[in-house]
Every structure is written in C-alpha cells, then in structure tokens.
Amino acid sequence: MSENTQNKQQGPGAVQTTGHAWDGDLQEYNNPLPRWWLWCFYGTVVFSVIYWFIYPSWPVGQTWLKGFGTVSYTVVDKATGKEKPQEYRWNTRSLLLEDLDNAANNAQRKAMLAKVRAASFDEIVKDPKMMEFARSVGKGLFGDNCAACHGRGGEGVVGLYPNLTDDDWLWGGSMAQIHQTLLQGRNGFMPAFGQVLKPEQVDDVAEYVLTLSAETRPSDASERGKEIFQGQVGGCYYCHGADAKGLASQGSANLTDKIWTVINLPAQKALQDKKNLLKTLVANGVSNTRIMPFWKGRLQDDDIKLLAVYVHQLGGTK
C-alpha cells in the first residue's frame, strides 16, 4: 500500500513525484502533460461547441437543436415505385442514403432496371447480363418474401409448399404463367368425394391413381377406378385431364409422374400407407389450405417481374 512520504529525490533537477510510495521505494512521477497533448485536448473542447450548433445535438424541452446541416437524396415511394427528392437533417444515416444515391453502381442498377422493365420475358432469358441482374436482385426478394414457405433455394416442402426447382408446375411453369401466379396469387381446390363416392369407390380410384405413376400394377380394382375417374361418376378427368397429366388452368396435379405436391406420398414406404394417404385426399378434397398469396400492390411491379424471372430460372419450363 502507499504511504505518504517525503520525496526521496530533492534538489535541482529532481522530478517531482506524487508523494506516494509503494513497497518502500516505488514512486510515481508527477510530470506535466505534454503541451501538444493539452492543445489537442483544448482543440476538441472548442470543436465540440462548434459541433453543437452545426449538427443535431442537445434536447431542448420537447424538441432538440436541429443543427444547420441538411442532406438531400432521393427516396423511392413504396406504394407507387416513383422516386422523389428528400431533404433531411445532417446525420450519418442521411449521409449514407446520399452516398448510396450517388454511388456509381446505383446508376448502373437504375439503368439495368429500366432495361428489364422494357424487355419482354423472351428477351430477358436470352440476355446474360439481364439474367445476372435478375438473379442477384431476385435472390434478395425471394429470400425476403418467398423463402418462408418455399425454402431458401425454392426447394419447398413436399405436401405443403410446391418445390420450385423441379419441372412439375401446378399452375404452369412458363415465365408468363409464373408472373401471373405472383401477381394474382393462387387458391388450390379439389372437391371432396367422400360424400359423392362410396368408400369402396374411393378405394378403387386410389388404386387407379397409383397405377398412373407406376406405383402398382393394374388390377381389377384399378380398372374399376379408371371408369370412375374417366367417367361421369367421379369426373376426375374434368380437372386432371383424360391423360391425368393435370391442367395448368385449374392448378390440378399431374398424376402420372413421381412428383407429389399435395400429399407426401414418397415418404410412405408401405403401399397400404400410400393408398390410405391418397384415399383421405380423395375423400376430403383440398379447400382453403393451399393458398399462394397475391403480390400485386404489395411488391412493386418491377420486383414482381424480377421475381418471376428468378423463380423461372430455378426450374421453370418453356
């Protein structure tokens, strides 16, 4: 501990100490601060006064000193997508916005956006630069708005949210169809046949549908199911088509491929489980569970167009 002692060194040339000594002989010099340091310190004090007046600072009652500096930049109106000039008080956020506004790649981005806006889907697909732009912007938009259901890479969840990376599209996989889906949304519907068909008929239909994608071999039951499917009793072909490949206009599923979108059939190992899953679907139908929200008005038109291009390059068809 320190003790107050007399300075050990006395006389001319001695450096003054603080007068404390530790462990008997450890002392602390009491040198003055270097003059350059002091002047820098005084300088910052003077500067702080200037700063108070030029930039937003002190609270005054219900408000605060606004400062003299303003920064102007352009903002995009979320609703209309139009740009308008804005002027705001000097702060680092305004400066950042001004910087972003004036950045060279912002001009490039705007030029590219105008080009994409004017181009048709066919032109965009053929242009590597526009595709690169659509992918980079689309990735961010997809992550913000679509990934919650369809997954980060558009892989979806079997039975719940369609996989966008394969070539099976309920509502059509061309760029125009995807664009339409994004603009107006989709509501998947299939009537419930539990009341219309007898349980053994539902059984037969399920048997038939499983033969379509070669899950089972045709049998008597499947032949009976075929008649219900293709005939007036079930009338399944209205929507799924006579070839059972689905209709994009109805959003009806292609039943002849190995891809299942409404039920997760491949996850069931036993044939009976697959059949049960299918029977439940035929009996209950699909209603108000498979809704794709509409994005018109919620996203800007340019963004929806870019999203359509992005989703199409994930796994779109011609």
């Binding site: 060279a104 997954g151 890479g153 892989e155 394969d166 070539d167 099976d168 292609n254 491929d257 190995k258």
Partner: protein, 473 residues
C-alpha cells in the same frame, strides 16, 4: 512544477542550411526534378483502354482494378503488391549494405520535400545569415511579408502535393475541377487536406526531426552498415595533422607551411557544418543523424578548389579505406542480398508475364442439392463465374466431359461473349436421365471444361464439381 525541475526534452535548435554548389548538389537537384516530374505529371498522362478508364496510372479502388500503363491488376492479383514491397525492402537492404544511406540522401520523399521547402525559403528569405537575422529580428513589415510569403508558398506546394496524391486514385482532371468547385467526395478532401497538413508540417517545420526521431528506416539502416559500407566521412588524418586543425592564419596560408608545422588541411571554415541539413559536424565522425546527402563533400570541395588543394578532405569512403585497409564489395552479405533480390524480381516478373488471361469458377448450388424431375431425371444446378482479365473481348465456351448420359443446359449461354475486363455469373443445369436398363451410371461428379473459343487461344480450365443424387435404399 517546482522551479528546480530540469526540462525533460531539449528544445530543437533551428537549422539554417547554407546553399552550396557542386557535383552532389547537381545530382540531388537532378534527382529532385526527375522525381517531381514523375510524381506531379504522371496522373495527367492518358492511356487508351477499351471499356476502362483512360488514365495511365490509376488505382481504382471502387472498381477493384489497378491500372499501370499496359498492365491491369485485378483484385485476385493483389499479391503482386506484396512481391513489389518485398523487392523494395531487399533493394533497400542491398543498397544500404553496399553504399550506405543512398535512399535517405537522394531518393526519400522527406529529403526531397525538405530540400524543396528549403529552396523556397532560400528564394524568399535569402541565404543562411539573412534567415537567421530575420528570425532573430522583431516582427516588422519585412518579416511578416517574407515569413508569410514563405508559408503561403509552402502551403500551396503542400496542397498540390496532397491533391496530386489523390489524383492517383480517381480521374485526375475531374478531381481537380470537382475539388476547386467544392463538389468532390469527402474522402478526396480528407486525403488532400491530410497530406497538405503532413507535407507542410514534415517538410516545412519538422524536417530533420523526422529522420532523427520518427523514421524507422533511418534507424535500422545503421544495422546494415559494416566496415566496407560507403559512408560520407572526414579524413581525420589529413584534416587534423599532428597538431589539429587551424584557421588560415599568419604563416599558415600555404599547405607546405601547415604541413611543416604539423597542422592539418582543415581550415575551420565551418562550411561543411553550415550546409548540413541535419545540423551535424561531419568532422566528429559517423553519426546516426547523417542522411548521406553529401552536401558537406560539395562544401569542402569548393573550399579545397579555391585553395588549389586536392579534393577529398570530406568524401565518400569506407571505414576500412579510412584505416588503410582494403574495401571488399563482394561480401557474403551483399552477394546474399543480391541473389535474393534477383530471385524476387525474377519470380514477380514470371508471375506477371504468365498471368492467366481469364478465370473461371464453378460452384454447386446446394439448396436444394438436387431436384427430381417428372421423367425421373436428377438435376443439379451450378453457378459459373467467368472473369475476362483481358482488355479485349473474349468468347468462352462451356461444356462438360467424362460422362455420356449427363446433359448440360444453360439456356443457350454455353457460348458467351465477355466484354473487355468483363465478368459474369451464369447458371448451369446438369441433368442425368434415369437409365432404362436399370444399370444407372453412377455419376457423382461432373467436370466442366471452360475455354476461350474466340479472342485468344489459351488452355481450357477444368473444374470438377460434385453431382448429388438421392440416396438409394
């Protein structure tokens, strides 16, 4: 503070270097003019490039390109900078071991700018005695005009120095106009004003203190000295004689008279001390402050020439030579530095001359790893990044090899033209159809072959990437 406290720091004694004429002064002036011509004019030199800025030397940080005449350095080649810095360091070691502080005396920007600022001072305030008188005198009209004028010219030079440095990082003519009109970006003003301040302070006020107290190179160069290193030195034996040096007094005017009396050749004129920019007396031997500018050699030579005595009382020599021993230049140390230097220059030259004309990377998109298609095919998607390092357009062809069944689909972009210095990201889909015979070709990797098909001929780049498929149970 008590009265008897001694100051911790010695106050700087102002140095007023006297001007001198001579061969080393001419060499230094020549070097100065050459260095300033390059430094101040280089940013203005134009250089035609396709699709790139037309400034001969431009370090374009936002664009991630360094343009040095015909050479364009992209961001992935930035390690060349490390190579260049290593070469400069070894060159410094090599030259210092051989010829002493040549860098400090002739090339260092601190020396050059201090020299220029002293020239301005000399031009406006006069020779050493006039400057000393002016400093001592009261603040009258003459002193205010002369001192103020000097500071004003210094400030102007310092500002243009700072602005010129900034010009290397952006288009020079635009920057000058924008700076003067007050619409240049903040970083440009900061850089310019910061360098204006440092130039003014370092070259105008701090001067030799930078070399003596601040510069690390000045200190570690002395560690490379040996007895064979070329140094500026006073020939003590000749200058002092047996009885020391003496003024040209009565009976000591002729060399023969002095030698007869045992008096050395140094006539104590003090010229060598007055011209020294770091304020040392070379006759006291080798000192760490000495920057080897050789102005004292010029000073002494002038005096010796006037007396018609032989030159070389102060001159370039080595410790060994001074002590009458042989100076060896081919020492293991210098040879070693020389070998390393040659190797470093060779490797850098080789690396630059054999640089790739284009780069290509292929990465598998891993979410999802694969997609199963309606016909049972498995599809993997890849992102290809192409980068044309040429200043000319380049057409690339992309294909896959090593598999008969896999199909590459790039929506017609298998053949793509890149603009000069252009880069692009593309998507490539690879589909493997199901095998009808059931003997599925077990593809677990795909090799992309990317090569220029027009523009230049170069070896193809092959990139092997994984191909993912569902696990079979």
């Amino acid at each position: 503070m008590s009265e008897e406290t001694a100051p911790l720091y010695q106050k700087r004694i102002q140095i007023y270097p006297r001007s001198v004429k001579g061969r080393f002064r001419n060499l230094k002036t020549g070097m100065l003019v050459l260095a300033y011509l390059i430094y101040y004019l280089l940013p203005w030199l134009r250089w035609e490039r396709l699709n790139a800025p037309d400034q001969a030397v431009l370090y374009d940080l936002p664009g991630r390109h360094f343009y040095i005449f015909g050479l364009t350095i992209q961001v992935q080649d930035i390690f060349w900078l490390a190579g260049a810095l290593i070469i400069f360091a070894i060159l410094l070691f090599f030259v210092t071991g051989l010829a002493g502080r040549v860098w400090c005396g002739y090339f260092c920007f601190q020396t050059l700018w201090t020299d220029l600022f002293i020239m301005i001072e000399h031009w406006l305030q006069g020779e050493r005695p006039a400057r000393m008188r002016l400093d001592k005198g009261p603040w009258n009209r003459e002193k205010i005009i002369k001192k103020g004028g000097t500071y004003a010219v210094w400030l102007l030079v310092a500002f243009w120095t700072g602005l010129t440095f900034t010009m290397y990082w952006t288009d020079a003519p635009t920057l000058v106009v924008d700076t003067l009109l007050g619409r240049a970006p903040y970083p440009a003003y900061f850089t310019t004003l910061f360098l204006t301040a440092t130039t003014f302070v370092m070259a105008g006020l701090a001067r030799e203190q930078v070399c003596t107290y601040m510069c690390p190179y000045a200190r570690f160069q002395s560690a490379m000295f040996d007895h064979d290193t070329l140094i500026v030195s006073y020939d003590t034996a000749r200058g002092e004689g047996a009885r020391g040096r003496a003024h040209l007094g009565k009976g000591l005017k002729l060399r023969e008279e002095r030698q007869a009396q045992g008096v050395g050749d140094c006539i104590e004129c003090g010229y060598c001390v007055q011209v020294c920019p770091v304020g040392i007396d070379i006759r006291k031997g080798l000192q760490y402050q000495c920057i080897s500018c050789a102005l004292c050699i010029d000073a002494c030579d002038t005096i010796m020439d006037n007396l018609h005595w032989p030159r070389g009382l102060v001159g370039y020599t080595s410790e060994n030579a001074l002590n009458g021993r042989k100076t060896t230049l081919l020492k293991p140390k210098t040879v070693g530095y020389g070998v390393i230097l040659t190797a470093a220059v060779g490797i850098l030259t080789w690396s630059i001359s054999t640089r790739a004309l284009y780069t290509a990377t292929v990465e598998q998109i891993r979410q999802p790893l694969y997609s199963q298609l309606t016909d049972g095919s498995i599809r993997n998607t890849y992102e290809i990044k192409l980068n044309n390092k040429l200043t000319a357009p380049l057409t690339m062809g992309i294909g896959i090899e090593g598999t008969s069944s896999a199909i590459l689909d790039m929506e017609g972009m298998e053949r793509i033209e890149l603009e000069p210095q252009g880069r692009i990201k593309l998507v490539a889909r690879v589909q493997v159809p199901p095998d009808p015979t059931g003997v599925d070709e077990e593809i677990d990797s795909i090799t992309f072959v990317i090569q220029p098909v027009a523009g230049v001929t170069a070896d193809p780049i092959r990139r092997e990437v994984p191909f993912s498929r569902p696990e079979t149970d």
